[in-house]
């Protein structure tokens, strides 16, 4: 089958210059191996994606045929007070969580990395546990904690003599978003901490030795070595936070369903209530809701582009 000459040649050379029977076989096998994934992908991602772009240009209640209405849904969004509110809340929620869930995990990771072998592993394990708990369990659990009459938080405040600090945490329009941000922080801290930790492990130790030789103190080493070397990882964490913020749904839906009176309405919950009609029992507005999903996708895409830009600059700066 294979001549001695052929055997001694490298794979790439043979592949480029001598299309053989084996080569053709490799091609068919390649397609055969990829085909199942492509079929599933086409059925449950590709086609739905194209379908939703089309639907966003139509008006449809789910029955009969969709009516093509062009850009009507999008112009309607601009004048929709609830949508504008949901957009604002989504952006604020995303901005605040991104800042908190980047700075705090970074500090914690640096702190853990600064010492103790065994204790460090224990801390990492514990801090990450909320990250494996589902959004539903998290949401229900914190709903009980925030319960105005019987919840642990208000009881705790009463016990330490801060009865005046008690609130209807999820019922107060001014407090509901901060209350949800706390829950998000509780759940996501560990994950982002781990990503930073992986980044810290990748820093070349000779950089610290060089800094020590130059007489840099701990703060200077942190400022001039650790933080700059974490730039790429920071870019990833920021992008993840942005994407997760824009697409927020589960935690808000479980805890408040966007209430009270849209005070915690995010794009995800608004789109869901429009499409699956849990708000007022009105007819589902499939086309209009789909337009909101396109907005969410656009925001997430923008986050990816931001990450590319940050990453590019970070790599350029380090070099």
């Amino acid at each position: 089958m294979t001549s001695t000459v052929e055997r001694t040649r490298t794979a790439t050379v043979r592949r480029r210059r001598l299309p053989s029977r084996r080569n053709r076989r490799e091609r068919y096998v390649g397609y055969a191996f990829v085909l199942p994934t492509l079929v599933f992908f086409a059925a449950f991602v590709g086609w739905p994606l194209i379908h939703s772009i089309y639907l966003s240009f139509t008006s449809w209640t789910g029955f009969g045929t969709p009516t093509f209405t062009g850009l009507h849904n999008y112009s309607r969004l601009a004048g929709d007070a609830v949508f504008r509110k949901a957009l604002l809340i989504t952006v604020v929620f995303t901005a605040v969580t991104t800042v908190l869930q980047t700075i705090l995990p970074m500090l914690i990771a640096i702190l853990i990395n600064a010492g103790w072998r065994r204790a460090g592993i224990v801390f990492r394990t514990i801090l990450f546990i909320p990250g494996v708990v589902s959004f539903v369990v998290t949401g229900v659990l914190w709903q009980l904690i925030y319960d105005p009459n019987l919840g642990t938080l208000n009881r705790l405040l009463a016990d330490i003599g801060l009865r005046s600090w008690q609130h209807q945490w999820l019922g107060d329009p001014a407090l509901v978003v901060p209350a949800i941000i706390v829950v998000s922080l509780w759940q996501s801290l560990g994950l982002y901490m781990l990503i930073f930790f992986a980044g810290l492990q990748g820093i070349d130790p000779t950089l610290y030795e060089a800094a020590l030789v130059d007489g840099a103190n701990a703060w200077q080493r942190l400022r001039n070595v650790t933080v700059p070397m974490l730039r790429t990882v920071t870019g990833v964490v920021v992008a993840l936070n942005l994407i997760n913020g824009f697409k927020t749904f589960d935690i808000v839906y479980v805890m408040t369903r966007g209430g009270p009176n849209h005070a915690s309405e995010v794009l995800g919950t608004y789109l869901y209530s429009l499409a699956f009609g849990s708000l007022s029992g009105s007819a589902p507005q499939i086309g209009y809701a789909t337009a909101i999903s396109i907005v969410i996708m656009a925001l997430c895409m923008a986050a990816v582009i931001v990450q590319f830009a940050i990453n590019r600059r970070a790599t350029a700066d380090v070099r």
Binding site: G30, P48, W116, A119, L240, N244
Partner: protein, 301 residues
């Protein structure tokens, strides 16, 4: 999508092993002070992080008449709430639903991902890069943004309100990312092994199955663990696709309890505890793969 950055975590050292490359700070006296202060900070933080879960378990062990009031750590424990959750909520059958749905999804995703990941990493065929890019380009697509067309898709396939439909949907949406993980893993294996096996006369499938798959075990473990967690915890699709109460997996089932059982906190927290237990056990037992899967998976979720 974000090529270099997403690939990176695979090559960075294991976050759970402060290994060779770890920075070992030189200790001076001032730093010892820093370190003990840091230790206290971390200790407080760990307590705060664990508190809600601890509270959940403690509440589930109270009897319904002592749940409000009384000391934080109850003087008497009872498992009656677990018995109640098991019987009246039919916890067992929803647990089984979750288990079956999750297992089928993991197996299906793994089958697709190992085949296609291997092909994209090791085989040369026309349009290879185009197809790979198409699969990857949708990784950032948020689940909530696709829920409407996916719902319609299942409806048109007559699979709405079926567990099979949910499994197919899960496999379809998870396959590209799992493929990406497997491809990255296969790329770390030497191409020479494939060549050598071919020279020895092994067919393409045999090379894949007998030579490469055994070597891919760590990568497979990562995909399995990550997919298990993601599917077990998934809520949005499950809640939308399944309507018949008896077919609901755990997460949407727990969600429906909020209204019905909002006065029976022990039963509610008992159900929550039982649903979290498997995940935490798997996490503590298989931390390394878990963390690898999560840090990589974070790119998608």
């Amino acid at each position: 999508m974000s090529g270099e950055t997403t690939l990176q975590p695979l090559r960075t050292p294991d976050p759970l092993r402060p290994g060779a490359a770890a920075h070992r700070p030189h200790h001076d006296r001032r730093q010892t002070g820093f370190r003990s202060a840091g230790f206290v900070v971390l200790l407080v933080l760990a307590v705060v992080m664990v508190f809600p879960l601890l509270w959940m378990v403690l509440t589930s062990l109270r009897s319904s008449n002592t749940v409000f009031g009384g000391p934080f750590i109850p003087t008497q424990f009872t498992v009656s709430a677990y018995r109640e959750a098991w019987h009246t909520i039919h916890f067992g059958s929803h647990f089984l639903n979750s288990l079956v749905i999750t297992s089928l999804t993991v197996v299906g995703t793994l089958a697709l991902a190992t085949l296609s990941g291997y092909a994209f990493a090791m085989l040369r065929f026309p349009l290879r890069n185009t197809l790979y890019f198409v699969l990857l380009s949708t990784l950032m697509m948020p689940a909530s943004a696709l829920i409407i067309p996916l719902y319609l898709q299942l409806k048109s396939l007559n699979l709405l309100d079926t567990r099979q439909g949910l499994v197919l949907l899960y496999i379809g949406s998870a396959a590209p990312f799992a493929m990406f993980l497997m491809r990255a893993f296969f790329e770390t294996l030497p191409m020479e092994l494939v060549e050598a096996a071919r020279v020895d006369g092994a067919g393409e499938f045999r090379v894949f199955w007998r030579v490469m798959m055994p070597l891919a075990r760590p990568g497979i473990a990562t995909v399995v663990i990550f997919q298990f967690l993601a599917t077990w915890n998934e809520f949005l699709y499950a809640n939308t696709v399944i309507q018949t109460t008896g077919r609901l997996p755990l997460q949407p089932m727990l969600f429906t309890l909020v209204g019905q059982y909002s006065t029976n906190w022990p039963a509610l927290t008992a159900a929550l505890t039982m649903s979290v237990l498997p995940v935490i056990l798997v996490y503590v037992r298989m931390q390394r793969q878990f963390v690898a899967g999560m840090t990589l998976g974070a790119v998608k979720n």
